[in-house]
C-alpha cells in the first residue's frame, strides 16, 4: 500500500522557517522590549523624555527601523499564527485549507499593515 503512494512536497518549510525565525525574535527581543516599553517608565529605567515623539520617530523611521519592525512585529506574527494554525489542528477544531489561509493570511495582512504604517509615518 505505502509502496504505491506518491508523496507531495509540503509547503511547511516556508511557514516553519518564518515560525522559527519569529521564535528566535520573540525569545531574544520581546522580553527586553516589554520590560523597557511597558515597565521601563514606572521602574525608572528610562527617563520620561527618552520615549518622546521626537526621539522615537527619529529612531524608528531610520531605515534600520524597518529591520526592527520585521523583528518585533512581522516575524513574531508569523510565529504566533503558525502556532495557532497547528493549535487548531491539535484541538481538532479546524484543519481545513481555509483555516490555514486565514492564519497565514492574517499574518500577511497585519505585516502589510505594519509596513504601510511605517511608510505613512516617515
Amino acid at each position: 500500500m505505502s509502496l504505491t503512494k506518491r508523496f507531495q512536497r509540503s509547503d511547511e518549510p516556508i511557514w516553519w522557517s518564518l515560525f522559527s525565525a519569529g521564535g528566535v525574535c520573540v525569545a531574544m527581543l520581546i522580553p527586553a522590549l516589554i520590560v523597557l516599553l511597558v515597565f521601563g517608565p514606572s521602574l525608572g529605567l528610562l527617563s520620561p523624555d527618552t520615549l518622546s515623539y521626537q526621539r522615537i520617530s527619529t529612531l524608528l523611521y531610520h531605515p534600520l527601523g524597518l529591520m526592527f519592525i520585521g523583528a518585533v512585529i512581522i516575524l513574531p506574527l508569523f510565529h504566533a499564527m503558525h502556532r495557532i494554525h497547528h493549535g487548531l489542528h491539535d484541538l481538532q477544531w479546524a484543519h481545513s485549507a481555509l483555516a490555514k489561509w486565514l492564519c497565514y493570511g492574517s499574518a500577511l495582512l497585519l505585516s502589510f499593515l505594519a509596513l504601510s504604517l511605517w511608510l505613512l509615518g516617515r
Binding site: 505505502s2 503512494k5 508523496f7 512536497r9 509540503s10 518549510p13
Partner: protein, 277 residues
Amino acid sequence: MKQPETKPSDMQHLSVAIQRYRPEQDDTPVWQSYQVPYDDSTSVLDALHWIKEHQDSSLTYRWSCRMAICGSCGVMVDGTPKLGCKTFLRDYPQGLKVAALANFPIEKDLVVDMSRFLQHLTTIKPYLIGEPSLVQAGSASAGSDQPSSAALQPQLQSPEQVKRYQQFANCINCGLCYSACPQFGLNPEFLGPAAIALAHRYNLDSRDQGKAERQPALNSKDGVWSCTFVGFCSTVCPKGVDPAAAINQGKIVSTMDGVIQWFSPKQLDATPQEPTS
C-alpha cells in the same frame, strides 16, 4: 518465569488496575483490579505474570526478553508509555493503572496492532542503500568465481562517522514514542518518531546513498512536517534515541532539500515517483 522468593502472603500487596479488552465479549475496554504481592524487584511485567498465573489465565500481553531489549512489552502505566519489564511497582506506592499502548488499535487486553508503525518503518527504507556502482559490481560478480574487487571493498567508518548516527541506531521498535505522540494519534498517516529517527540514522550514515529515495516521504506533510515538537516521544524512549531531535533536524534537511530543488535547473520532476508494486 520469575517468582517472588518469599511467600506471597508475607509480602506487601499493591492494587494494579488493568484495562481489559476481550473482543469476544467487550465492545469497549473495561478496567479490572487485582491485588498483587510485590517487593523492590517486582516489575510491571512480573505483576502481569503473577496475575496470569494466579488470578486470570486469560490476561493477554506481549513480552519476551524481560530486559528492555526486545521492545515487545510496551504498556501505558498511569497514562505514560513504559516498558513493562523496565518499570517497577515500588515506584507506584499508591497503586497503578496499566493499559494497552495508546494510539494503536487494541487486539486484546494489552496487545495492540502495530502494523501501522511497521508500515511506516518500511516506507522510509531502513537499510543501507549502497552506491549503484558497488551494487552492480556485487551482483555481476555473483555468478563468477572471481568477485570484483569493488564489491569486496570493506566500507570503512571512522569512530567520528559512527558517532554521527549511533544514537539514532539504538531504537528497539517498542513503539512507546508512537503512543506518546498526539500527532500520530490525530493522524495515523504521520510516519512518526521512530521511523523518522531511523530514516535520519541512515541518511547520516557515511556508507549510505539512499537519501534521495527517503526524502520524498520525509518532505511530505505526513513526514517530518506533521511534527510540532511536543517532545514527549524523547521523554518516554527507553533507549535515549531522542526521536524528536531527529525529526527536527530532519526539518532542516527537508527545508534545504526544498531550497536545492527550487534552485536546481531541472524542475520537471519535483517529487520522484515511488516504485510501484
